[in-house]
Amino acid sequence: MGMSREEIFSRVKETLVEALGVDEDEVVGSATLTGDLGAESIDFLDIVFRLEKAFNIKIPRGELFPENILNNPSFVNEKKLTNEGLAELRTRMPHADLSEFEANPEVDRIAELFTVDAIVRYVEGKAT
């Protein structure tokens, strides 16, 4: 497809500004969707829809934002991900940076994985 990372980032930024009503300068690579950009669950659906349109790709349900990890008892124990859970997360989210999360894999911190960079890496992966 041949889009550079800058081009992808720029289009992802536009998408997030449209979907979340944030200012352009708030959309930096490390910004988290829920924490920094104020996204709610309905916004996640909106983001997926707009990314599909912007990049002409298909995003199957659960591929960009994995579901069914937190409600699986073999993946979670006492509000932390088990090793099995972490392995599952690694498989399902190759586009996320798990290094900081793995140090303290608390369930409440999972939202921190959904960053602008993670979306950019996901789109890059789809384009090749």
Partner: protein, 176 residues
């Protein structure tokens, strides 16, 4: 008072688009508070009317099996106001629909009272993008009242005028 902000469907293409009209009337209570001495149709109720037009279209697409609710107003722009005696045209188109949600674009145009005799073309008033959620698919396990709250008596009467069988596809166990 019934919470129905459209008066008639003028077009209904199942799964694709619909158009409805809303007449703004001095007999509507809220106009006398909005504003005292200067009745203006509230923009929020115009948006509600567009959302109802789109919501019924989207709900009919699942044969009224999904509970459709307005989840997000993605964008809306107004370029004027609507007054008693005006007729508003709400035109909606489904942009995307799947089991979890639907997106619809809506346009509002206005036929002003003093134009009605003079055959003036409708003037644009507003445009918007709306997101709807299919409740059952997004909140699995939570309990909702039985039956479909979108297909009220009032909505059924509007659909009967424009669609054969009131928009319901015959099924072996249809209800409502």
């Amino acid at each position: 008072m019934r919470w129905i902000w459209i008066d008639r469907f003028t077009k209904f293409e199942p799964g694709k688009s619909a158009q409805a009209v809303k007449n703004v009337s001095m007999a509507e209570e809220h106009l006398h508070d909005h504003f005292p001495g200067y009745p203006v149709m509230p923009a929020s109720l115009i948006i509600e009317g567009v959302a109802q037009t789109a919501g019924v279209l989207i709900c009919q697409a699942s044969n009224f099996n999904e509970k459709v609710v307005l989840a997000k107003i993605s964008s809306v722009e107004f370029e004027g106001i609507a007054l008693p005696g005006d007729t508003l045209l709400y035109s909606v188109e489904i942009e995307k629909i799947n089991e979890q949600f639907a997106v619809a674009g809506g346009k509002v145009s206005i036929i002003s009272a003093h134009d009605k005799g003079g055959n003036a073309a409708p003037k644009p008033l507003a445009s918007m993008e709306l997101m709807f959620s299919h409740l059952d698919q997004n909140m699995a396990g939570r309990k909702f009242p039985d039956g479909n709250f979108i297909l009220t008596e009032a909505v059924s009467s509007l659909l009967r005028e424009i669609l054969p069988n009131g928009g319901q596809k015959p099924t072996s166990n249809s209800s409502g």
